[in-house]
């Protein structure tokens, strides 16, 4: 397991630095080609977004100079931007990849975009073949961890922008927004943004009232809505379930007595007032009326803040989950390291068995099928009994940092191939990999037997 991560992100570098590192999508294949052609680098992928440019790589021999790649690829001089670059190795690198995919490393923790961006970068690298075995396994695991974090914590469920909080509140009041009508008082940008969100969630009719009728008409046209002359504001306001106000009026436009009239006209059906004007357009006393809910910009901001706080709390839980997953990943990788030894041990003994059988077959004469089966069972049984302890020892040794010693001892004892165990083969890797490995092992084994 030789993973490396190097890069810059919103935590380590300001945007002026990050943009120097950015690699546009069109140039990604070329960059990946250069990366994997470097000494010692077996696999690699690059995630380049506005908040981060990160290189994930795996090396064969445990050494890889990603700094060198950065210098050469971007043409930086030595030491340039060095303070902005972070680097992780081995388990730290695994943890970092898990955290990035789970959106724990994001600027807005829990946002869902980053997972898509990592998936895209992974798909590009995979298509080019620069991710093909252990890094592939790492990323597949990272996506599973991200999914788990999303499903088992509430990290991504709450809204963290003013407009989405407005929608969330409206849904808390009205249930589905489909068929609901929205009245925009004032034709400002914020109004437009909030209206867009509400429409995306099903709001149907849009009314626009503005002191300058032409601007109201222009905005209404955008939403296929209806512009209403400002002097008819109080007669028409009860038509809407949601009123978003953002005029530049120096004092409140909607006062308590208006609210009472609206409620009467609407047979007390609830109304939701969103006041995003400063100074405020809506008298807070309106909120005291049964069935009227008033939220001003600070109230919305407060909800946003509390949601961010909730996300932070959930992030702590998510971090624990990530740590646990890193531990599991490490364990699996270590087990994977002893698997080749076990395989060649089994292979070796099986070959011995076959050779011995062939040798005595002449003396046994012709056997009935029953006798044939008995001989098979006998010889196999002896081998399995003898193999049981070494294999269990190998498997338990995998969880031990000393595992390589045990592996070496077993290899020496049974006179297996002298070279070090090949890199673990992940279960997700293409099927030809294990086949190739067995093929490579067989000739040497037969040679040993002939001797």
């Amino acid at each position: 397991m030789n993973f490396f991560v190097l890069g810059v992100n919103h935590k380590t570098a300001p945007v002026e630095v990050r943009e120097k590192f950015a690699i546009p999508e069109s140039r990604l294949p070329e960059a990946l080609g250069k990366l994997t052609s470097m000494d010692g680098i077996e696999e690699g992928m690059i995630v380049s977004t506005c908040n981060r440019v990160e290189i994930f790589a795996r090396s064969q021999n445990g050494h890889c100079d990603l700094q060198k790649f950065v210098r050469e690829y971007f043409g930086f001089s030595a030491g340039e931007y060095e303070p902005y670059i972070f680097e992780h190795q081995q388990l730290e690198a695994v943890k970092h990849v898990f955290r990035v995919a789970s959106s724990l490393d994001s600027m807005v923790v829990g946002e869902s975009q980053i997972l898509g961006q990592v998936k895209e970068a992974y798909a590009t690298a995979r298509a080019l073949g620069t991710v093909n075995s252990q890094l592939d396994q790492l990323l597949t695991r990272a996506f599973a961890v991200a999914k788990k974090v999303r499903n088992e914590t509430t990290i991504a469920t709450s809204s963290v922008s003013i407009a989405s909080v407005a929608v969330e509140l409206a849904e808390k009041i009205f249930g589905s927004l489909s068929g609901k009508s929205v009245y925009l008082v004032g034709a400002g940008k914020m109004c437009e943004l909030a209206a867009r969100h509400l429409i995306a969630h099903g709001a149907k009719k849009i009314y626009v009232g503005n002191r300058t009728y032409d601007r109201a008409a222009a905005l209404a046209e955008k939403f296929d809505g209806e512009a209403i002359p400002f002097e008819r504001l109080y007669d028409t306001a009860p038509w809407a379930d949601i009123i978003i106000s953002s005029t530049g009026a120096p004092h409140a436009i909607f006062r308590k007595e208006h609210g009472e009239k609206f409620l009467h006209a609407r047979k007390n059906r609830p109304m939701f007032f969103i006041d995003i004007a400063v100074p405020r357009d809506i008298d807070p006393a309106l909120n005291d009326l049964d069935g009227i809910f008033v939220y001003n910009i600070d109230d919305l901001q407060q909800v946003v803040q509390s949601h961010i706080g909730d996300r932070r709390k959930e992030a702590v839980r998510a971090e624990v989950m990530v740590d646990e997953e890193v531990r599991k990943f490490e364990q699996r990788a270590q087990t994977a390291e002893v698997v080749p030894t076990i395989v060649s041990l089994q292979q070796h003994l099986e070959n011995l068995r076959q050779a011995e059988l062939d040798r005595v077959r002449g003396r046994l004469g012709s056997l009935t099928p029953d006798q044939e089966m008995a001989v098979e069972a006998l010889t196999k049984g002896i081998i399995n009994k003898i193999m049981h302890t070494p294999i269990t020892t190998l498997k338990s040794a995998a969880r031990d940092p000393e595992s390589t010693t045990v592996v070496d001892v077993v290899r020496k004892l049974f006179n297996l191939r002298a070279e070090k165990a090949p890199e673990a083969v992940p279960p997700t890797a293409p099927p030809q990999a294990p086949a190739a490995e067995t093929a490579a092992a067989s000739p040497s084994l037969t040679n040993q037997i002939r001797k």
Partner: protein
């Protein structure tokens, strides 16, 4: 003869009752065209019946328990007509029609109790009475719970802090609709159940049943049920006022239930 006229009037008022229920379900436009003349005609028969009773038995007879209900019903009907003529508003009909129907019905059966042909028939009648009322109770309870939930959730929204448990609750308007639908569905059952009970009680105890605490509480509960529906339908009462009214209705229904232990006539025993 006066009893026959009263029965005819009861049937005609029954048309008004059906109209009132349809009206609460926002489907009352067509039935209104039949209900208004039916109730008008019912009032004429009702009036004739009362006059005849007075002529036959003297005016004091009208003040006995049997006829007082009937007289009260006609009075209410007249007041409604006056309001209608003066203000041209028919919406109180939703409240008035069920009221005059149930009063005349009680009076009509009081004057000539129905006789059950067999004990089985009688116990079947009681099972029906209990079953429909239980359903009515359940719906009333559901609407009470939803109006309390509505109140809590709207307070949370007004205070601008939603605790996590509130996030899992349905939306305000969904709770509101649930409560209203429970009322709408439960009301016909409650009405029919009370009428069935009245028939049984008449048969066994005669007109005195009307003064029993259980019966009075049940009628009060039914009245609150009606008022709840009416205020919700005509003025869209929700939130605080509706919750208070529903809570009151709930307390009365609990009392009506509890009155089983006080009432001499009505107990949870096998018939």
């Amino acid at each position: 003869m006066p009893l026959l006229w009263l029965r005819v009037a009861t049937v005609l008022y029954g048309v008004g009752l059906v109209h009132a229920i349809l009206m609460l379900r926002q489907k009352g436009e067509r039935s209104g065209r039949i209900a208004a003349p039916a109730v008008g005609l019912g009032m004429i028969f009702h009036f004739v019946s009362l006059v005849e009773t007075a002529l036959l038995f003297g005016y004091t007879e009208l003040l006995t328990i049997r006829h007082a209900e009937s007289a009260l019903a006609l009075l209410i009907a007249l007041i409604f007509t006056a309001l209608f003529v003066r203000y041209r508003t028919a919406s109180p009909a939703a409240l008035i029609f069920p009221l005059i129907f149930i009063l005349t019905f009680a009076s009509a059966i009081a004057q000539h109790p129905m006789a059950f042909s067999s004990p089985t028939f009688r116990s079947g009648w009681i099972v029906f009475h209990v079953g429909t009322l239980l359903f009515g109770y359940a719906m009333l309870f559901l609407s009470f719970v939803s109006s309390v939930l509505y109140l809590i959730l709207s307070r949370q929204l007004k205070r601008k802090q939603t605790p996590t448990w509130a996030a899992r609750m349905p939306a305000l308007q969904e709770i509101d609709e649930l409560g209203y639908k429970a009322l709408l569905l439960g009301f016909p059952f409650m009405t029919v159940g009370l009428l069935a009970g009245a028939v049984v009680a008449q048969e066994r105890y005669g007109a005195t049943y009307f003064t029993d605490p259980k019966v009075l509480l049940s009628l009060l509960m039914w009245g609150i049920y009606l008022v709840l529906l009416y205020t919700r339908w005509s003025a869209g009462w929700r939130g605080r006022r509706a919750a208070y009214l529903a809570s009151f209705g709930f307390v009365v229904s609990v009392c009506a239930w509890g009155a089983n232990y006080l009432s001499k006539l009505h107990r949870f025993v096998a018939p």
